[in-house]
């Protein structure tokens, strides 16, 4: 009887301490949990560990490895625990995965997982001054809402994310709005996970570096209802293929802006609207500046520009001169362009800057190191937002 009691107590304690699925697993959680990975060391190097006694080769690929497609080989100890310690890393958010004998996997020791399009990665944050805006801090937090809205332009009920700043729920103030667009393969979720938009906005506002604003993160794929699994299955026939058609941009001004301004306490008029986006979202921002400049006073083009014509001689950007003239005639307060020197669209961003110069259009150009990466886009957001809505 005594023994039964002890077993019973143990079972109850385990099931209440661990999620239900945990106990159904093949491996005992108390064994697996002995493997600490990742571990950020005092010198800001990171140690990764994986228990894989039968593996012949374990490698790790991660966003701190600069070389395209490169990975590093982990080292096995006597017990079958593989590990690797990086050099000291810059404070930043890094994503990574292991490859065991050719099979890619996440770090089972790490609860932090990020989705990038259709792929997941493990995540580790190396904390320091340079990463301070990305961290969750003891500052007032805004509210993030997953909102469904009607888009007659796209003939869809769609989902977007809306960030309302700290104080919104308790006050009566009206706020300006930043429309924040993701890149190809992403969706309405990307800026709040990989992009750390909520943390960046919370921290910028807390430090007084930016005015409080509403941030609207749409799904920029015109055929999508919502991110994977959040919508009924449907044919994506006009999904990302509709990227160059300008139809998403139309839906933003015709459907999204009216919805946001009807349902949130917003300041109206173009002087209270900004738009920025990366890669595909940068192209959409350029299109909005070309074709709908009367809606926005602030534009931010991240890692995008005027691409060279494709093999058929056609460019994605048609009638650039006429549309630049339209933008010039309409006027604006800020046209911001940011690109990394290693970005494969670096040349395109230079083309955009050249064209802005050709038309004597004022702009701010920000060149960073690095390439077509979220580490750049997080920095760009943290630098672009403070420039907005100044009186």
């Amino acid at each position: 009887m005594k023994k039964n009691h002890i077993i019973w107590g143990l079972v109850v304690a385990l099931v209440l301490l661990f999620p239900a699925g945990e106990l159904l697993a093949q491996e005992a959680p108390w064994l697996r949990s002995r493997v600490v990975s990742p571990e950020v060391n005092p010198d800001l190097s990171v140690t990764f560990r994986l228990f894989a006694p039968k593996a012949e080769e374990v490698t790790i690929s991660g966003s701190w490895i600069q070389e395209w497609g490169a990975s590093e080989t982990m080292v096995r100890n006597d017990t079958g625990l593989w590990s690797l310690q990086t050099a000291p890393l810059e404070p930043e958010i890094y994503t990574y995965s292991f490859t065991v004998d050719g099979v890619r996997l996440l770090d089972p020791g790490n609860v932090q997982v990020m989705r990038d399009g259709r792929r997941h990665e493990s995540m580790v944050l190396v904390s320091g001054e340079a990463s301070r805006l990305y961290e969750v801090k003891d500052v007032p937090h805004g509210t993030l809402s997953k909102v469904w809205y009607d888009s007659p332009t796209l003939d869809l009920i769609r989902r977007m994310y809306v960030y309302t700043p700290p104080g919104y729920a308790d006050g009566k103030d009206k706020y300006p709005v930043l429309y924040l667009l993701h890149g190809g393969g992403g969706d309405e979720d990307a800026w709040t996970t990989l992009g750390r938009a909520c943390q960046i906005m919370d921290n910028l506002i807390a430090e007084g570096m930016t005015v409080p604003m509403i941030v609207v993160m749409t799904n920029g794929n015109p055929g999508d209802v919502a991110s994977p699994g959040e919508a009924p299955p449907r044919k994506q026939e006009d999904g990302i293929g509709g990227m160059g058609s300008g139809v998403f941009e139309k839906s933003l001004v015709n459907d999204v802006i009216p919805y946001v301004e009807a349902h949130y306490r917003t300041l109206k008029g173009r002087e209270n609207r900004a738009v920025t986006g990366l890669s595909m979202g940068g192209m959409q921002t350029m299109n909005l500046a070309f074709d709908h400049p009367e809606y926005f006073d602030y534009f931010g083009v991240m890692s995008m520009g005027i691409t060279d014509p494709g093999p058929d001689g056609r460019s994605w950007f048609q009638q650039v001169d006429e549309r630049m003239q339209h933008l010039k005639d309409t006027g604006y307060k800020l046209y911001w362009v940011g690109c990394g020197t290693d970005d494969f669209l670096y040349k395109a961003s230079q083309n955009l800057v050249d064209k802005l110069n050709e038309f004597n259009l004022e702009h701010t150009y920000r060149e960073s190191g690095g390439g077509h990466t979220w580490s750049n886009w997080r920095i760009y957001l943290s630098e672009f937002a403070p420039l907005l809505f100044k009186k």
Copy 2:
């Protein structure tokens, strides 16, 4: 030049079609994407596939396998593609993972990933009549918000999720509130992912099976600020250890209810408040019924009950008779108890029913098959919600 154009166009197309990280990976996405997994077949069997040419053994464990800790061995073909086809499955949401030579991994072919506590699983939905309430349908959707609130009782700024029903954003109506509590190891995220609470509520409301209501999903671990990675690192000294102390329950009535009723259009009074939870959340629901019945008219205890005393002879539930009397004196509209016949807390749920009978307290008892699983808790929510707030 022609060739350069073609390569350039290909690079642009790839980067815009795939997330940034995808191209930095070791393996080419167009190769990996040839592996279709999971595939739900017309007979509702599911085929799982993994490309692992160097592996000696690949197994799959999943929630359709009833036997505790069991897994099934996958079969290798000539090319190194491992596969397994299940028997036809009941329409339901299933979670699963692969194990390659002892190393556990998610299905790289499947974008659907769910977090259960500190662990991730791949997910597949087998569609059919029995799963219809869990699917995302073309019905009006409520809004899910991640809200930060002050909890003086716990001395923390904490996060909770709030579901407002379709129509909330456009109307002036006031709504009753369901407080929906997760289990041990879970957090404020669990009911909206594993529990499919938004889909269940959207679908129940659309079918007229329940009145529209606000659903509040707190973090039930009294030492937690928010789910992993969403809060600054802190010592969890009084985290889940504070489970039996009743302090979370105090914070719910002292802090959460006043916040919700001050910030949302709520109907007031106990007749407009319900609480239900699973496992640890079921214990908290029992405690709320014992100690704070004046706040709620509806209680739902899922997969929990009066546990037998532990090895030291102490029970988690002290002074049960006095507290039952308190509940009886206060009165209520519904006391609902649900448990699976294979649940390790089945006996405890019977003890609770016995005690309710002993005190002549009206209650509804729902016995299902299965065990301590989310498939039961999703069913329980879909059956409990329709019983609430009837005039």
